[in-house]
């Protein structure tokens, strides 16, 4: 058999195995969540879950947390990264190294440290569900940083800013009229990453005794496992739809030809991991 033939067989096998690994849990989850032994296909488990008094408030709570986390991350990182790229490029490697620290600090360690620190200094702080926002900003930092950094590297920031200034535009106008529109794909990527991570975050919320959507999923899973499976599946499908919509936009812009969106797209890949982990 020729080398090319062997290669295509290996590729086919890898594709099938990967597809099975990916699809079997989803199919099993769908089968379990949307069927009852006596009835076959049914929406009863999901209807029960949605009817639960905790569902609405906890979903809204998680959405609000995701929104606030994204806004806080952008407010912190966009000006910082723009400044680093324009004025202090030599510090970029250090900033990048700092941005991955959350990956090496386990969430449990973060919670314990936060518990100790805030109980001693501001005891009331952790009682509000929105006290999770700064911790979520830290958790999402590595991914959001990379998405924005990739977007900034994909445009000739210095030249664009100088060109804008030479046309009479001040720094603030340049930021909003030139920099942000050209970062749009990176902003979308970063927002999507931030949203999906927060919507799937369980450890911090449960250890700090806050009721969020992932906590609701776990709680309901103890009494009604079929409802938890169905809701998890719907969450994954929702994420997929968001991802597809974004990727479609990215491809459409790429067809028009801009350089900026292209580089930002691959960063989306890790987005699937948090949801898959939580719903499993």
């Amino acid at each position: 058999m020729s080398g090319a033939g062997s290669r295509s067989i290996v590729q086919g096998v890898v594709l099938v195995v990967a597809g099975l690994l990916f699809a079997v849990p989803l199919v099993a989850s769908a089968s379990f969540g949307f069927t009852l032994p006596a009835e076959g296909f049914t929406l009863t488990p999901i209807a029960d879950a949605v009817a639960d008094s905790g569902f609405g408030p906890q979903v809204l709570q998680s959405l609000a947390l995701a929104l606030l986390t994204t806004i806080a991350s952008f407010a912190l990182l966009i000006p910082t990264l723009v400044w680093l790229h324009l004025r202090a490029r030599r510090w970029l490697p250090i900033a990048e190294a700092l941005s991955v620290i959350p990956f090496v600090v386990p969430a449990v360690a973060l919670v314990n440290g936060a518990n100790l620190a805030f109980r001693l200094t501001v005891p009331g702080f952790l009682t509000s569900v929105y006290s999770l926002v700064p911790f979520y900003v830290i958790l999402t930092l590595p991914l959001v940083y990379r998405a924005l950094d990739t977007g900034l590297r994909a445009i000739d920031l210095n030249t664009l800013v100088t060109a804008s200034a030479s046309l009479g535009s001040g720094p603030i106008r340049t930021f909003f009229s030139i920099i942000l529109p050209n970062l749009r794909p990176a902003l979308l990527t970063a927002a999507l990453l931030s949203f999906t991570m927060v919507l799937g975050e369980y450890v911090l919320a449960t250890l700090l005794l806050h009721n969020t959507f992932p906590v609701f999923l776990v709680q309901i899973g103890q009494d009604r496992p079929r409802a938890a499976a169905a809701l998890s599946l719907i969450t994954i499908v929702g994420t997929w739809l968001m991802l597809s919509a974004f990727t479609g936009r990215g491809l459409a812009r790429r067809r028009r030809g801009p350089a900026a969106p292209d580089a930002a797209v691959p960063v989306v890949a890790p987005i699937l991991n948090p949801d898959v982990r939580i719903s499993a």
């Binding site: 100088t162 804008s164 200034a165 046309l167």
Partner: protein, 370 residues
């Protein structure tokens, strides 16, 4: 269309980056309405000079005036300048028309006025039908035309061109430099062109400032810097020059290739050996006898047709390398490789370089690039 012709004056400008002095006491005046090309090899400080005028670099010492307005410490967006960059600098998220209109929008010009102005300027740069295209849909040359239209849309007091053609291929470059010159002439905007391409500088500029090592060596019309270079560097940087060996034989008399020439010897004593710089077109040749054996008689080693003129490469006995002689092609066709010829120097076009070691024909651009 409004004509702006502000005069720009740099006085005693100094600029260092760390220990490296990039601009060393630069004095330069760009007259109202002229196109001044700042020409020099890489690292000579020409781009830094442009950035100082733009307000992108603050000088360590000295002042920048636009007319009588001291703008030394003024931000770039407050100077009233337009810039066309070497890199493609159009805003990717805006169409060509939106790019051109951006500066007017910043100034609060009404929508209909700025759209009309953008259309007018796009027509001026030959892109009337491309207003709705995004930068990615335009070629490099078209992008630079839009960038030019965008820069002049705001009717700047000074237009700065930072090697705007260097990223383009040769054919587009030649076409676009003629267009830039035409538009600049029509607008009458004071313009500074930074370039390392001598052909570009000589063909576009009203005056050329030649820079070396952070200093201005000469400012003059293209004709002046080519025909009457103020220094040996200028003569060797612009065009092609032959370096011949000469010996001072008294007063302003120098013996070059066995021929006594009247040259300013700049205080050299009798007996000193000096370098004499002569352009290829300022040398002539005549056929020599096979038996002739003096310093001016050599052998043609190559003949290159360059259109209206031809270049003959001649090897002389007392020079280590060949020299180049340019002749009208009609005269050059009488010679062929291996011919013995006598080289004649026209004294009125020769220049002395006391610091140089005599050598062969040197193409300055090639040397600078190396």
């Amino acid at each position: 269309m409004t004509t702006t012709s502000a005069e720009v004056t740099l006085r005693s400008i100094q600029k260092s980056f760390g220990r490296q002095t990039v601009l060393n006491d630069v004095d330069l005046t760009i007259r109202g309405g002229e196109l001044l090309a700042v020409l020099g090899p890489s690292g000579c400080g020409k781009t830094t000079a442009l950035r100082v005028i733009a307000g992108l670099e603050r000088p360590d010492h000295g002042t920048v005036h636009i007319d009588n307005d001291d703008v030394t410490h003024r931000r770039i967006d407050k100077r009233g300048i337009g810039i066309v960059f070497q890199a493609y600098s159009l805003f990717p998220h805006q169409t060509a028309a939106e790019n051109v209109a951006y500066g007017l929008r910043v100034r609060g010009t009404g929508r209909s006025s700025r759209e009309a102005r953008a259309a007018e300027l796009l027509a001026m740069v030959g892109l009337a039908d491309h207003g709705s295209k995004y930068p990615q849909q335009l070629s490099g040359g078209q992008q630079q035309r839009v960038a030019l239209a965008r820069a002049i849309a705001i009717e700047p007091r000074v237009l700065l061109l930072d090697e705007p053609l260097s990223a383009l291929d040769a054919q587009v470059r030649v076409q676009l430099r003629d267009e830039i010159r035409r538009i600049q002439y029509e607008m009458g905007t004071t313009t500074v062109l930074v370039t390392h391409d001598q052909e570009e500088a000589l063909s576009m500029a009203d005056r050329v400032a030649v820079m070396r090592a952070g200093q201005v060596e000469q400012v003059g019309t293209p004709h002046e810097v080519y025909r009457r270079p103020a220094t040996a560097f200028v003569s060797s940087f612009i065009g092609v020059v032959n370096r011949l060996s000469g010996r001072v034989v008294g007063g302003d008399r120098v013996l070059v290739l066995g021929q006594g020439l009247t040259l300013s010897t700049a205080g050299h004593s009798v007996g000193h050996v000096i370098a004499v710089l002569v352009r290829p077109e300022h040398l002539a040749i005549q056929r020599a006898d096979a038996s002739a054996a003096d310093a001016a008689t050599g052998v043609v080693t190559a003949l290159t047709l360059r259109g209206a003129i031809s270049s003959l490469t001649v090897l002389l006995p007392e020079l280590p390398d060949t020299i180049r002689v340019d002749l009208p092609s009609r005269e050059a066709q009488d010679f062929t490789r291996g011919d013995r010829v006598r080289v004649i120097v026209h004294a009125e076009d020769a220049l002395i370089d006391a610091s140089a070691v005599p050598s062969a024909a040197v193409r300055a651009g090639e040397r600078a690039a190396a």
